[in-house]
Structure formats: structure tokens, C-alpha cells
């Protein structure tokens, strides 16, 4: 099986990017240095190619109902040009993938954006339920013909507004509008995955070169910086911080209970989540600050008095804070902020403390 390449692959290769396989896509990990790319986004602005994200078009008279019943969120309450963060659940409440649902500002359709490599699986799930519930919905996978970049950082609003035909400065978080950049029709949304202000921009892939050219002088950033930025912001990585087989968790355990609206009618997984609310979570995903110099990685055990109480799902050295940080699931008894933990890192015991996320707000820089 060959890897899928983003439309801007050649441009990245010419910029000297290192590539990696991510969700079946050959994507740039870094262009210069993860640290420099990370700093650009925190200090000014950076551009990410995120064309590996899926784009599914959900259209037709019953599109709203299908999405409303397949997510635990109030999709009916969206309006044109509004978006929400949510997830698709299994019947037992376990998260299959986290997604953004865009109610298109000008078309009748919704655009569902799942994670890299999940587009076919999510499309199959939509199709299965459309048939099961006998809904009138047109589904199509637009991943291949859609390009997507994220422009993120304190200067992102100014930089994007400078190239769009319409004013984007007044967009609220999770609001989108349709406009053009150098003649290319784009969906510009005030969303992101870095903890900074900015936009994610979707466009037909044949417009990729024009979009790239419009942002020619912005620092290119790869998946390496995208990972350190999202982790500092306490944002989840699908497949790593939750995974339907390897790390099965419901939204409450995963810390995204805010997407669950138990009063918005029936949805897949609702009975399981109602039971979860009653029982309280057994495990919780927590933020972890390491108190010694060491890097926690996915799969490292979390112990208490020699007994396993959890597992690290993500970890890095925070470039902004200069402190090693991690996220991981712990037994609910150990989830309170300030709880002292021990991480077992390649046979070495490392002291750590449960902290709130985003880390940027809770951890003092060294």
C-alpha cells in the first residue's frame, strides 16, 4: 500500500522537509527545527499543511438528523457558518474519533472533518446509520479533492485577513465563512489545534499552489511542532490519547465531557454515557508535569507504590515551558490536581505531579 500525499507534497520536499507516515499520509514532520517552528506559532505565526484531515460532505434533507444522532452534541443547534467539536461514539460510549462538524455558511451541506486515515471508517459509519434509520442523506468523501492548511499564532488573524477577499477578523471561535484567496474559493474557519488564535482553511486541492503562494513568507511547520503545540494546549490526539481498540474510553474519561449534551435527544452511545454519569469514571485522562528531567512517551506505566495505576498516552519536552509534560490515564482516585505520581520511564522511576490543562496556564516556565 502506498502512502497518500498531500497536494503540497512537492512544495514541502523542495523546502527540505523531513517526512513521516501519519495515518497513511506522507506528511512533513519538520522543515527547520521543531523548536523553531513551535516558537513561530507561539510568538508570531506558522502555517501547517493539514490536508491529511478527512473531509466528508453530509447533505440532503436529513443531514442534520444523521449527525445529531451520531454525535453526542447538539448539531440541530448549529446554524449556517457555525462549527462544533464533537466525536463519534460506539454503542458502548467509546470514542471512535473526534471530529469538527461545520454547518456550511452558504451551502446546505455539513462538512465533517475526522482525523487522518479515519475518513473511510467514518463514512462507512454514516452510511450504515443512514440506511438503518432510513434517512435521506447524500454522503461523499471529499478528502482527496480537498486541501487544508492551518494558519496559527498571534499574528494569524492579520496575516489571513490580508489575503482573503472578505473580512475574517470578526469571525468568532468555531465560526466559518466562505471567501476567496487569490481567486480560490475557501472555507475559512476560526479553529485550530495549537492553543493559539488562527484559522483552518479548506479549499479544492487544485487551488493548493495559489494558497501556498499567498502565505509564502509564513514559517512552515510540520507535524512535530503540531504535536508539541497541541500537547501544551492539552488537546487530544486521536489514536494516541484515545483509540477504540487500544485505549478505549468514553468522553468523560477522556476529559471532553463538554461535548456531551444528554438533553438533546437520542444519540448512539447515550445509554452508556448516562450510566457513566451515574457511576462516575473509573479512569481519567490527566495532565502530568514531570518533576525531573526525562521524557514520558506513549505507553510508559504510571505507578503508585510499585502498583500500576495508569498509562502515559502522550509526552514531550514542552518547548515553551522548558518542562517535560505528559498526558495519561490514571485511576480516578489519583486524578485530583496536585496528586503525586511516579512514572516508570525505561526502568527508571521519575516523580511527577497531576496538573490542570492547558499546561500553558498551569505550569510555570523554567
Amino acid at each position: 500500500m502506498s502512502l497518500r500525499k498531500p497536494p503540497l507534497y512537492e512544495a514541502h520536499a523542495e523546502s527540505g522537509a523531513d517526512f513521516t507516515d501519519f495515518g497513511g499520509w506522507e506528511m512533513p514532520v519538520s522543515f527547520s527545527s521543531i523548536r523553531d517552528e513551535h516558537a513561530a506559532v507561539r510568538d508570531s505565526v506558522g502555517l501547517f499543511d493539514v490536508s491529511h484531515m478527512g473531509e466528508l460532505s453530509v447533505d440532503g434533507p436529513d443531514a442534520t438528523e444523521l449527525l445529531h444522532r451520531l454525535t453526542p452534541s447538539d448539531v440541530e443547534g448549529l446554524g449556517d457558518g457555525r462549527a462544533l467539536y464533537s466525536c463519534l461514539l460506539r454503542d458502548d460510549g467509546v470514542i471512535l474519533d473526534d471530529v469538527i462538524v461545520y454547518d456550511h455558511p452558504t451551502e446546505s451541506e455539513y462538512v465533517l472533518v475526522p482525523n487522518a486515515g479515519h475518513d473511510e471508517e467514518m463514512l462507512a459509519r454514516l452510511r450504515e446509520h443512514k440506511l438503518r434509520w432510513d434517512l435521506d442523506v447524500d454522503l461523499s468523501n471529499k478528502t482527496k479533492e480537498t486541501g487544508m492548511v492551518a494558519v496559527q499564532g498571534p499574528d494569524a488573524v492579520e496575516r489571513v485577513d490580508a489575503v482573503t477577499a472578505d473580512d475574517v477578523t470578526e469571525l468568532d471561535p468555531f465560526e466559518a465563512l466562505e471567501t476567496t484567496i487569490d481567486g480560490v474559493t475557501c472555507l475559512v474557519a476560526r479553529t485550530g489545534y495549537t492553543g493559539e488564535d488562527g484559522f483552518e482553511i479548506m479549499f479544492p486541492s487544485e487551488g493548493s499552489d495559489a494558497i501556498e503562494a499567498a502565505f509564502a513568507d509564513i514559517q512552515r511547520c510540520g507535524l512535530g511542532a503540531r504535536d508539541t503545540l497541541r500537547l501544551e494546549a492539552g488537546l487530544l490526539l486521536s489514536g494516541q490519547d484515545f483509540h477504540s481498540e487500544d485505549e478505549p474510553h468514553d468522553p468523560f474519561e477522556t476529559g471532553i465531557g463538554f461535548v456531551v449534551d444528554l438533553d438533546s435527544g437520542d444519540f448512539v452511545g447515550k445509554p452508556a454515557l448516562e450510566r457513566a454519569v451515574e457511576d462516575g469514571p473509573n479512569e481519567k485522562l490527566v495532565g502530568i508535569r514531570l518533576d525531573e528531567r526525562a521524557i514520558a512517551r506513549h505507553g510508559h506505566p504510571i505507578v503508585d507504590d510499585g502498583e500500576a495505576i495508569g498509562t502515559v498516552t502522550s509526552g514531550t519536552m514542552s518547548p515553551t515551558l522548558g518542562v517535560p509534560i505528559a498526558m495519561g490515564y490514571v485511576d480516578a482516585d489519583f486524578a485530583a490536581t496536585g496528586t503525586e505520581l511516579t512514572l516508570s520511564i525505561r526502568g527508571r522511576d521519575v516523580d511527577a505531579t497531576v496538573v490542570d490543562t492547558p499546561f500553558l496556564d498551569s505550569v510555570d516556565a523554567e
Binding site: 514532520v29 521543531i34 528531567r293 521524557i295 514531550t316 519536552m317
Partner: protein
């Protein structure tokens, strides 16, 4: 992309270098290795007095994106450890053959140097 490969050093195919000066060997990782790893954020090294065995791992170098064992190119007793790397591991990126050195070792067997690559051979291996 070309990497710095100083002529006077000995290299191991796992990308460590050795500089020999009066029976003392200084050990580090090559310019190629630091570039492959990217931003180095953590270096774990043995202590003074520990013994190294040629070919065995003696420490860990960890970057934001990867963790890698480092292997002793020669055998001997550790006489000095670059303590600066504990607080400033990025020195390995900035100056891999200078301030980014890792260990000084009392060389046990000069003959082991013959098993290592010279600059030309190491460069050929990278090509």
C-alpha cells in the same frame, strides 16, 4: 545536505565519534546523528568511574521526536562526564564535536580504534 565529518576523528557506524588525545578518548555523536534526531531535549549519561564496553549502550539521547541509545565505540573507564548537557542538551545540536561532547574515557585498548571508521569511510556510509 552535507554534514561536518572532521578528518581526525574515529567513527562508529551507529554515529558516535571518538577523539584520542594522550590515551584519553573523548566521545560524542556525529553531526549527522544530531541532525537526524532533531531538537535534543534530554541526555542520560553514565557516571565517572563507570566502565564502558565497546559496542554496548552507555546512555540515551532523546529529542522531541525520538529516543535513541548511544553505543560505546571503545572500552575503558569514564574519567569525565559533560555535566553541561544535563541542563543544556541542545549543545549536542549546536556543537556536536565541541561543547556537545559526552564522555572522556581512559582508553583500555588502543587496538579497538582499528575497528572504527575513519572520516572517509564514515562519509561513504552516510552517502
Amino acid at each position: 545536505m552535507s554534514f561536518e565529518i572532521p578528518d581526525e576523528l574515529h567513527y562508529q557506524d551507529s554515529h558516535e565519534w571518538v577523539r584520542v588525545d594522550d590515551g584519553t578518548a573523548t566521545i560524542g555523536i556525529s553531526d549527522f546523528a544530531q541532525d537526524e534526531l532533531g531538537d535534543i531535549v534530554f541526555v542520560e549519561l553514565p557516571s565517572e568511574g563507570d566502565d564502558l564496553d565497546a559496542g554496548s549502550d552507555f546512555g540515551v539521547v532523546e529529542s522531541i521526536k525520538a529516543v535513541s541509545d548511544v553505543y560505546a565505540p571503545i572500552s575503558g573507564s569514564v574519567t569525565a562526564v559533560n555535566e553541561d548537557l544535563l541542563d543544556e542538551p541542545e549543545l549536542v545540536n549546536e556543537d556536536p564535536y565541541g561543547d556537545g561532547w559526552m564522555l572522556k574515557v581512559d582508553l583500555a585498548d588502543e587496538g579497538e580504534l582499528d575497528d572504527l571508521l575513519d572520516a572517509e569511510e564514515y562519509e561513504a556510509q552516510l552517502a
